[in-house]
Amino acid sequence: MAELMYWEAIRRAHDEEMANDPLVICMGEDIGMAGGTYKATQGLYDKYGAERVIDTPISENGYTGLGIGASFLGVRPIIEIMSVNFAWLALDQLFNSAAKVRYMSGGQLEAPVVVRSPGGTAHQLGAQHSARMEKVFMGIAGLRVVTPSNPRQAYGLLKSAVRCNDPVYINEHELMYNLKGEVPDEEYFHPLEGSEVAREGKDVTLFGYNISVHWCLQAAETLSKQHGIEAEVVDLYALSPLDRAGIRASVGKTHRAVIVEEAEAPVGVGSEVMAIINEECFFELDAAPVRVSAANVPIPYNHTLERAAIPKVDDVVAAVRKMFGK
């Protein structure tokens, strides 16, 4: 198994899917000749040409809608939106056209588009370049939302998303493109629904997704070494639909839950997971589930404030210790 960086894994998925099907295209700002801000489409322009690797104008709603319209006729576009903050401008087409068209046409039309976009807090990019809005996407019926936490998922989820007949939003992370990890050498399709146990444990479940899976894993190490608490880490790579059975299974085993999200708490992944725990396994609980979330502020520019705004590994450890009265 080869080690690839997150961006290399995404690039490989693009390449394989474009080689497999001449109707797969990719589009976005600077993704063609320039190879993409995060290199996710590097080299594809030379290989597949300008008709299939499309440098778009800065018209997020327009080109997303164009991709959706093309998908009505069987084209399979992978749309990169440079930052999730700009994806706000494309929400009309994504939510009002792609997510609803199958339903409102009574099953006659579908929009098999993939929209990829990085979110998250990186290095002092300021409020308008640091959004974490996966929670907005996951609230929309008719849209799938996945969020890879490692290169294997980044590769396999994109490949499945391209072939799936639903619109899929892939939430990547600004800070993770250079993350290294093993990716199978043979072709691999990651399921678009479900969750993964990233670390087995028996005392408490830490639910994470995308970058927060890594915080959970670090916190679990500390908890094990310093406090004798064995945390299970569940990677919620699929945010919509969420893996209700997987959540139930883990909480049914550990009887305690902490949800860790990089975003602000209101109406977030954490609140949704807590609601599911409440609905699915309330009587299994030994303690009230808690969330570890960001401060409810636009992300500040100042580095110290920026770090203070989002959760840290220590916050996860502290939340678990408090739960155990330690």
Binding site: G62, V75, N96, S105, G106, P191, E196
Partner: protein
């Protein structure tokens, strides 16, 4: 356009008029719910343009005033009415309603309720057509007020940049709900606005179906020959309010009267009578036949059709049995 074509189009337009008027009544009877935007007055636009294109083969998309466009593409009027009655036999299975008529089999790619939403979708369909190497075109019908959306400018820019086979048809009925065009739009002549993108365009009388047809022939030829997009502005007027909740108080009686003298159906009818091709009685008989057909076949079918099943509430939200999903823990 030969005489036989004109006679057929007279019938098609009259059918559309009576269909829409019957929708009005059904709405008042509370058989139709939601928003209902009717088309009387504008018939020459849809029929004139589509007559110059290939109904059922070229892809058509539009906004919420969409029943007539769907029917001209080949949608069964029974299925359209059943959709308005929210029945399972409706063309969108009762899930779409007046603003979301779809008939993909006849390449009517939908009515969309967001003003300006179809502009990029049409460009995307044109992109797909081009990739597949077909000689079909995409036709996008929208109102004048829609041109003030960003999607208009974003889409025209891309369509021109990439020479996409898309025909934009602006049905300029002078109003966006109750706001007259000169109160919302800096440049009232819509066909001039696309000059900024180097897109050829024309403005013609949208009440005279022969004029529309001729202009559309030129437009369609341009688009189909691979020369990129074209923009056709049709000057027209809707007789009713914007929707059923619009009392239409913002328009003067004089203005309405002036436009009613330029009725697309009456103009064509009178021309055919003058030429001795039909008589007044022929027209009356045709009208009666249409009214009967609407009542006996179309309304009766809509009335007697079943509602969608509540057990199927969630059907059509996501693809069924998609192999790439494989839910559950792995």
């Amino acid at each position: 356009m030969n005489v036989a074509d004109k006679k057929r189009l007279l019938r098609e337009m009259l059918f559309a008029r009576r269909f829409e008027e019957r929708c009005y009544e059904a709405y008042v009877e509370r058989k139709i719910g939601g928003f209902l935007h009717l088309y009387p007055g504008q018939e020459a636009c849809a029929f004139g343009v589509m007559e110059a294109a290939r109904p059922g083969r070229d892809y058509v998309i539009t906004g919420y005033r969409d029943h007539v466009h769907a029917i001209k593409c080949g949608a069964d009027p029974k299925a359209v009415m059943a959709e308005l009655f929210a029945k399972e036999t409706g063309c969108s299975r009762g899930r779409g309603g007046s603003m979301h008529i779809f008939d993909v089999e006849h390449r009517f790619m939908g009515g969309y309720a967001l003003v300006g939403g179809p502009f990029p979708l049409a460009a995307g369909m044109a992109k797909a057509i081009k990739m597949k190497g077909d000689d079909d075109i995409a036709i996008c019908f929208l109102g004048d007020a829609a041109n003030n959306q960003g999607t208009f400018h974003e889409s025209l820019n891309m369509a021109a940049l990439w020479d996409l086979p898309v025909l934009y048809v602006c049905e300029n009925n002078l109003y966006g709900i109750g706001t007259r065009i000169d109160r919302s739009t800096a440049v009232v002549e819509q066909y001039k606005r696309v000059d900024a993108y180097g897109i050829p365009s024309a403005q013609v009388d949208g009440q005279d179906i022969e004029v529309v047809f001729k202009a559309a022939q030129k437009a369609v030829k341009h688009v189909r020959s691979g020369k990129g997009p074209y923009f056709l502005e049709l000057l027209t007027y809707r007789y009713r309010g914007h929707s059923m909740s619009d009392s239409n108080a913002y328009r003067s009686k004089d203005e309405e009267k002036m436009w009613s003298k330029r009725d697309p159906i009456i103009m064509l009818r009178d021309r055919l009578i003058e030429a001795g091709e039909i008589t007044k009685d022929d027209y009356k008989a045709m009208d009666t036949e249409i009214l009967d057909q609407i009542e006996d076949e179309i309304i009766a079918h809509a009335e007697s059709s079943p509602e969608p099943k509540v057990q199927e509430l969630e059907k059509y939200t996501l693809a069924e049995n998609d192999p790439w999903v494989r839910g559950g823990r792995n």
